[in-house]
């Protein structure tokens, strides 16, 4: 009799412990590469593991709400991270960055090892595998975000690009490093962009979160204005889910630098999707990050690039753009316009708090700084 009374409260505790993290188990997830980081509004960290072909949802128990509206800046981020890892600034590489919207703790996926990033066409994931997660608090303190003994769930992506496939023109780069290029979360779904081993390699996977079902794959085809042709092998570099004209859509940017809209309603009806190219932002460049923010009450998108300056474009302009780019662009740009902003050397972007977007920026002295961009100033 006593046992039954004891077991019921324990059972309730057990359920309560897992009710806040449905579908998760405790343990140490086997993550092969911390390729891409993204948070949902509940502070769950999604890690895209290109080499493992999986997406992990991690509850880091980092849920103390922060009302901080201050900026965060670290003048020499690489040296700080390097010294934390016992090495020098030229020996580390920052692969991705994401801020927990609840705590405003910033997370960086980092690799240690000789920085081989010498080609402007390569991404950090092309040259090294990120193997440590660093957390930076709003006060600038730094710690390792351990992935041991955490609550986590995972889903395998069907048909990721093969591990041995080589990049056609980036010598020595394995395509598997781009199996996952970006992750976004919206309306209880995780969207994962990257490369597959399907006939058309550019892909977008969709999986409901919590992970109760398998991820579904759609392959993609877009018209590349600068190249004058339809392309299926170049992955999305950065994207945002966004409602365009009332329709659930994806705003996606690609290498060299088309901006494309994808109608999410089509994804359940077809496996191969043709996007609608609404802009050519300019060749010789790849987009790094896109962040949606509000400025004077309206939505705007800030995009960082490998060679182009920081740029702002208005999703309303995308909504109002009636055409579609299906022929080689004459001149350098076409379609939806953007405003270039000063911000040379800006790499990673992440929405930080109500006032700021945090970014990494290569300084004239060669150092990589963590800076905060005031959203109020980012007016087109």
């Amino acid at each position: 009799m006593l046992r039954k009374f004891l077991s019921l409260p324990l059972l309730l505790l057990f359920i309560a412990a897992f009710a806040s993290v449905p579908g998760m188990k405790n343990g140490s997830p086997e993550i092969n590469s911390l390729s891409v980081l993204s948070f949902n509004e509940d502070g769950i960290l999604f890690i895209g593991d290109s080499y493992g072909g999986q997406v992990f949802a991690i509850d880091l128990k980092d849920d103390q709400k922060s009302t901080n509206d201050k900026n965060l800046s670290i003048p020499d981020l690489e040296s700080e991270v390097a010294s934390f890892l016992g090495t020098s600034a030229d020996n580390i590489l920052i692969h991705d960055m994401a801020a927990n919207p609840i705590s405003q703790n910033l997370y960086l996926s980092v690799s240690r090892g000789k920085a081989k990033w010498i080609s402007r066409w390569e991404t950090p994931n092309n040259v090294e595998i990120a193997d440590i997660l660093i957390k930076i608090a709003p006060d600038g303190s730094m710690s390792e975000a351990s992935l041991k003994d955490v609550a986590y769930a995972s889903v395998s992506l069907p048909s990721p690009v093969n591990t041995e496939d080589e990049h056609r023109w980036k010598k020595g780069v394995k395509l598997r490093s781009e199996a996952i290029t970006d992750i976004e979360f919206q309306d209880n779904k995780v969207y994962v962009a990257g490369l597959s081993n399907e006939e058309f390699s550019s892909a977008l996977w969709t999986v409901a979160y919590p992970f109760k079902s398998e991820a579904k794959i759609n392959t993609l085809e877009i018209f590349h204005g600068a190249h004058g042709k339809w392309e299926t092998a170049s992955p999305i570099r950065s994207f945002l889910p966004y409602k365009l004209n009332g329709k659930n859509s994806i705003l996606a940017s690609y290498l060299c630098t088309p901006l494309v809209t994808l109608d999410l309603d089509e994804f359940s009806q077809k496996t191969h999707i043709k996007g609608r190219t609404v802009a050519e932002f300019g060749s010789g460049n790849y987009p790094i990050d896109m962040v949606l923010y509000q400025n004077k009450g309206r939505d705007l998108i800030l995009m960082s690039n490998s060679a182009l300056p920081l740029l702002i474009f208005d999703p309303e302009d995308v909504e109002n753009f009636e055409g579609e780019i299906t022929a080689e662009v004459e001149g350098y740009r076409s379609g939806v316009d953007y405003t270039p902003r000063s911000g040379g050397g800006i790499q990673q972007l992440t929405d930080y708090n109500e006032k700021y977007i945090v970014a990494t920026q290569r300084q004239p002295n060669g150092k990589l700084a963590l800076i905060s961009i005031n959203k109020d100033w980012m007016t087109p």
Binding site: A82, S83, F84, G86, T87, K116, S141, E166, K171
Partner: protein
Amino acid sequence: MKDMVKGGLWCLLSCLCLSNLAQEQKGFTVLNDPASAEYGKILSPVLPDSISDRLVTTQLTFPEWTSFFSIKTSNIARPVLGDYRLEKQRVAFSPRFLPDSDITYFVSFNFNQLNEILNIPSKREKDSLLFKTVEFHPIETQATKIVNAYPHINVLPENTLRVYVYFSKPMGFGNPYDYISLLDQQGTEIKNAFVELPEGLWNENRTRLTILFHPGRVKQGIGPNLNEGSILNEGELYELAISNEWKDANGLALTNEFSKKFFVAKAQRNKLRKRDWVIRSFCKDECILRLTTGGIPDIELVDNMIEIRNEEGVEIDFDIFPEDNGSFLIRSDALTKETSFNMIINPRMEDICGNNFLHAFEMEGDSRGKEGKPIEIRIVIK
């Protein structure tokens, strides 16, 4: 007695060696043997019983540990990430990542700060703060060496177009031609001998470099050849030299310089002929084929240009090994006595002078042969 002395000396020597691996540095112990599983570990000075007993039962956070025992890359840097634990009255720090041998680490231990954390009221008057710099022995990564160059033989035709250099591990980025020189018999470097692509002509894992002799100087009668002359001259001695300052993909210099001296023989300006390609078999424990061609085939084209098929037309796998005399050995598990095969050669298979079965490298435009049929050579193993 002699044995005892010997034994004693041996013991002393062993102790000295062991102590070098675990270096005592002003109370700290640094485990500095790259071969050890504990390489990079640093142990604090021995703690009094009162402190170590208290530490056993106290859970400290990383900031608390580093407040009294820290390892840094500079005096003002953040503490290095690692694991702290108590080991037999000493605090042991194990870094998260192996240390860099080119960084000086600053190690400090503050007894009074530790007392404060443990709520021990007493203060040390003397030696309360210990400080030391540490440098770690480099991990002996096996650096890359130049394994070989092809052709192996030491007599090359005057109109040689290609030479291959093989490395034991991937080489770094950077202009290979900063490290490669062709010297004449006076030891003078021959300028403009190669097509100098700054990124080099590499295989996919950067272990094989193709050195392309300037075709404009090799080919007779065209501008560079007329203006600068041919690169190699028949009857003379040359040296292909590669500096060991060249760094591999790990940033380590090559372990060896490389020098290949060769004589230059008459140019080979004719197209390849089937009748010059002779295959002989010989069997002992296994059957091997020896291929002689009268020239020097481009061995790196073999994979794509030469097949061996059995009587049923099924392609067999084989390995090909160049010999020092210019011939090749071919071995395959499929080669057994009383079997027959066909070697099928793409007519565009070239020698190292760029001649193939359709035309010589020197032949101009229309005088080049049209697409030809594959060359077939019968192989009978008796």
